[in-house]
């Protein structure tokens, strides 16, 4: 078998060397009742590369591919153009098949990339420090809430209504077990975010306010107003960024007063991948660094005085602190962090700003075109590359009808908030730099047909 290098003659020689008659002797500790005498029934035998490719290729071809149709889905995962060299570089064996850099002398490649990644994330987010990645934005968001609890020693977090409902769901799941209180609310299909509700709810028991920026409808809230009120009450502002590219156009949450900034880095370097693997970004103020979860890469020198990098502040982590760790995270999202960093290095500030400008312009053009259709109203005053429209009827069947016409037209609020009657006519439309004029026209035409 092509992945198993031992020949039968090797096996015989090695069995002799270990004093066993057959490999069964090596499994002597397995109780008789648990030993399988042969291979497991009902499962296929080994297959050639060609056969596996054929089988899985057939499954792949059954799916409608984002790059092959007019595509307008967002809500926490975005289709952007990734430069060709990114995928080549992450497939270098020294990156792809390397391990967590616990032996820094032979892992300076990984460690230096992590240091560059941490710096890029900290600068994008407007924060002092960032970690070496989390699983994704939703788990990073929960870890930020847990961190705010540790810092403030308070147990109530206020979640803005504009926070991605999956992120809310993850936080609610975890809070059930940790005893954290979460103040949550459904969003309203209006231009205003729930900033008034947030400001009114902050009190002396609040650990943090969690605000998505831009939010699930694409609206851009004023973080500095929330930050001021939170700080006055001794609470923290946690900002959540699900679309990294937005930071090429709008101000960083850190400069607007956020204490902890988390988000999803998928837009940069990491494709849609049907939801994973993605890369969680996590940044905060310097004074909170010892409460951060996850790996941290730091600069140091070697025995010859040469500059090098190591994983550091490990006493926060599970392999040292065990049950007193700040998080149980071990494996994080190394290769995706590498892809993010390479893409961000290729973009540079110049490229990121250009990319963001194109995203915003395409979104404005799309919003203007769609609101020409009878009965289609734009909900947002502000948006970056994603906005919400109110349709004259329920959006979920509209999305399915659009798919039947070969257009992936957006995410219905019925999909995200099933049962929330006031939201059922809402459709969230994302427009990135991959969207062409023809795509916008195709969406408008198909939507007009479906709404008729």
């Amino acid at each position: 078998m092509r992945y198993l290098p031992l020949a039968d003659s090797d096996r015989q020689e090695m069995l002799r060397a270990v004093g066993a008659r057959s490999v069964d002797d090596l499994f002597v500790d397995v109780p008789e009742a648990a030993r399988l005498s042969g291979k497991i029934e009902g499962l296929a035998d080994h297959a050639s590369e060609m056969s596996v490719e054929r089988q899985l290729g057939a499954l792949a071809r059954e799916n409608i591919v984002a790059g092959e149709v007019p595509f307008f889905l967002g809500c926490g995962a975005y289709k952007h153009h990734i430069p060709a060299s990114v995928d080549h570089l992450i497939q270098r064996g020294e990156f792809l098949t390397s391990y967590t850099p616990y032996q820094p002398e032979i892992a300076q490649g990984t460690l230096q990339v992590l240091f560059e990644f941490q710096t890029q994330v900290a600068r994008l987010y407007g924060c002092d420090v960032a970690n070496a990645s989390m699983y994704d934005g939703s788990t990073a968001c929960w870890e930020a809430i847990a961190m705010a609890r540790r810092i403030t020693k308070r147990g109530k977090a206020i979640l803005s209504a504009g926070l991605h409902p999956h992120y809310v769901s993850v936080a609610q799941t975890m809070a059930r077990f940790t005893g954290d209180l979460l103040d949550v609310a459904l969003p309203e299909l209006s231009a205003e975010t729930d900033i008034d509700r947030l400001l009114a709810s902050i009190d002396a028991e609040t650990s943090c306010v969690v605000v998505q920026y831009p939010d699930i409808f694409g609206r851009i809230p004023d973080l500095s107003v929330i930050a001021d009120k939170a700080h006055a009450a001794g609470a923290l502002l946690v900002a959540v960024v699900t679309e990294t590219v937005a930071l090429g156009a709008i101000r960083s949450p850190g400069e607007m007063g956020a204490d902890i900034v988390v988000g999803e880095g998928q837009s940069i370097g990491v494709g849609l991948n049907f939801g994973g693997p993605y890369v969680g970004l996590f940044a905060c103020k310097e004074k909170f660094v010892r409460q951060m979860p996850g790996r941290l890469c730091g600069e140091t020198v070697d025995a010859e005085g040469k500059r090098g990098f190591v994983l550091t502040l490990s006493t926060r982590e599970q392999h040292i602190r065990r049950e007193k760790a700040t998080s149980n995270i071990c494996t994080n999202s190394g290769l995706c962090a590498l892809a993010f960093s390479i893409h961000m290095t290729l973009l540079g500030e110049e490229g990121l700003r250009q990319m963001a400008a194109i995203n915003h312009a395409r979104a404005v053009q799309a919003a203007d075109r769609l609101t020409q259709l009878p009965g289609v109203e734009l909900v947002n005053d502000s948006f970056f590359n994603e906005f919400t429209v109110r349709l004259p009827k329920e959006a979920r069947p509209v999305v399915r009808a659009l798919a039947d016409r070969g257009v992936l037209g957006g995410v219905s609020l019925g999909r995200l908030y099933p049962g929330a009657e006031a939201l059922q006519n809402g459709l969230v439309v994302a427009v990135t730099e991959v969207v062409t004029d023809e795509d916008i026209e195709a969406l408008a035409t198909a939507l007009q047909e479906v709404l008729a």
Binding site: D29, G38, I106, T119, A249, A303, G351, M355
Partner: protein
């Protein structure tokens, strides 16, 4: 030899051992120093071309950026060179044997990469209508079926993003099940030898952690465990084979005892490579087990992830499995999310992550599983166990194997630093092994053995590579036992000598700051 017109003729030069000659660049031939992107003098600004954006009236609500972000940009040639040069400073499975115990550093098949990149898997959005992604959902369902059959369990939660996340999933299901029974308990028992994520996870799930002692054969002390079980014990977290590389022969009794006391059994599946295709953990009475797809099922480690940690459940825990998951209804595959869960899976404990799970790792694992098949997977565990036993027996004359006398090991061999001379440690031996061209084995874990060295070769190593590794390890072990002081200077040939981790922690520098870096250079 005649000279040609240009004056060239071959010259061997001197073969004398060179002193450490300083080069102008600091490079040593193919060992190349590489600055940070923030330190590069010439920076192109960007390596991506964009057509200009259309002029539109801004809808950014007045939040336009007014300060620079300060991100360097490189042209494609500069970027390719930067990352290629950095990659060459890394050890990797592609370069050689990577003997990390409990990490299962097996070869990462390139077919996996090809399959993962098929547009029908890579370029689909998680929120597309399910009828547009039936092939993807089918793959997830098929992989789930394989995992269920290989483990002999009842159901599987595919969404956890890594092993530790899977451990949390299992423990939260256990806690939910006990609370549903009106029997919330406070304690989880964990062997001292357990991986650090086990107690960390148990604490996160709200439990108090207590140790289970080991017996002199390196296994769970069954009598001590039975004595401790009681109405306050929610369950145990057991790794089997355990972190000493040994199968727990009393596993069935352990499960029985825990169940009789009203608790549930979590199995850490990190060492599944030792038994895949030969033993089904479900037959041993466990209730939940996470599977590291990036270990047993070959998805790449990537320098620290991404991983994937699906969790298989017993019948008792199945109702509490988290959302979302894939279900086959007739000819169609659907996604059970919050909306539909109320009907059929109302006891689910909630959602652990946005979207559905690590699809990119599912495709890779599926490619691996289909390639090996039931017969190949059985061969995997056999060869993995044979390779580890070969290393154990070939080295136990020169390295102390604390459990070597009590029988065979499973897929990993455990040694201690007993007999090292001159104040030398496992760390010193490991750094010397780097100079021999190998990544060191797992060090100082499990905690129950002094100076522990845990070696897991995996099944993708040939006898020849094992013999070379054994020879190298024998050499450094002999030097360690002889008290060879030169080990303290190791590594001397790696891109860096030993790094000052104390300084890194005392004065953390976690991002690049122009002023700070300039000071350090002075």
């Amino acid at each position: 030899m005649s000279m040609n017109a240009s004056g060239w003729k071959p010259e061997m030069g001197s073969g004398e051992k060179a002193e450490q000659v300083e080069t102008f660049t600091g490079n040593r031939a193919l060992m190349l120093e590489e600055p940070l992107i923030f330190e590069m003098e010439e920076e192109a600004g960007t390596g991506v071309d964009f057509a200009p954006a259309a002029k539109v009236q801004s809808r950014l609500g007045g939040f336009e950026r007014n300060k620079p972000i300060n991100l360097p940009g490189l042209s494609e040639p500069q970027a390719v060179r930067h990352y290629t040069r950095l990659s060459r400073q890394n050890y990797a499975i592609d370069l050689g044997l990577f003997p990390l115990g409990s990490c299962t550093m097996k070869h990462n098949p390139r077919l996996n990469e090809k399959v993962a990149r098929m547009p029908g898997f890579a370029d689909i959005h998680p929120l597309q209508p399910v009828d547009t992604v039936q092939g993807a959902l089918q793959l997830v369902a098929n992989l789930g079926e394989w995992l269920i059959k290989l483990t002999g369990m009842h159901s599987v939660a595919m969404s956890p993003k890594a092993g530790a996340h899977g451990e949390l999933c299992g423990l939260l299901a256990i806690r939910s099940a006990l609370e549903a029974r009106g029997d919330a308990r406070q304690v989880i028992l964990v062997p001292e030898s357990a991986h650090g994520t086990n107690p960390a996870t148990a604490a996160f799930a709200g439990y108090r952690v207590e140790n289970i002692p080991a017996n002199e054969r390196g296994r769970v002390d069954l009598d001590a465990l039975k004595a401790r079980l009681g109405p306050d014990v929610a369950g145990v977290m057991i790794t089997n084979p355990n972190t000493c590389g040994l199968f727990e022969p009393d596993m069935t009794e352990i499960s029985k005892a825990v169940h009789e006391a009203g608790g549930l059994v979590y199995c850490d599946g990190a060492n599944f490579n030792a038994i895949v295709g030969r033993v089904r953990p479900g037959d041993l009475g466990i209730d939940a087990m996470h599977i590291n797809l990036h270990k047993t099922f070959s998805t790449p480690h990537g320098g620290g992830g991404p991983g994937s940690g699906p969790v298989v459940f017993s019948e008792a825990l199945t109702p509490f499995a988290p959302l979302p998951f894939v279900e086959q209804q007739g000819e169609r595959f659907v996604l059970i999310e919050e909306e539909t869960a109320e009907e059929h899976h109302s006891q689910n404990f909630g959602r652990m992550t946005a979207f559905h799970g690590q699809m990119g790792m599912f495709t890779r694992a599926m490619s691996y599983i289909l390639s090996h098949g039931a017969d190949g997977l059985r061969q995997v565990s056999e060869d993995a166990v044979l390779n580890a036993n070969y290393i154990l027996r070939e080295l136990e004359d020169v390295l102390d194997a604390p459990f070597g006398a009590s029988g065979p090991c499973m897929h990993e061999a455990l040694f201690s630093d007993k007999g090292f001379g001159g104040g030398l440690s496992t760390l010193d031996l490991a750094k010397a092994l780097i100079d021999e061209g190998y990544h060191p084995m797992t060090m100082y874990f499990p905690l129950v053995v002094h100076g522990a060295m845990l070696i897991e070769p995996t099944e993708t190593e040939s006898k020849a590579t094992l013999d070379q590794f054994i020879g190298a390890l024998r050499s450094v072990a002999q030097r360690a036992k002889a008290g060879d002081e030169s080990l303290k200077a190791a590594p001397i040939h790696a891109p860096r000598r030993r790094l000052d981790e104390t300084q890194a922690a005392r004065k953390p520098v976690l991002v690049y700051k122009e002023a700070v870096q300039a000071q350090a250079a002075e």
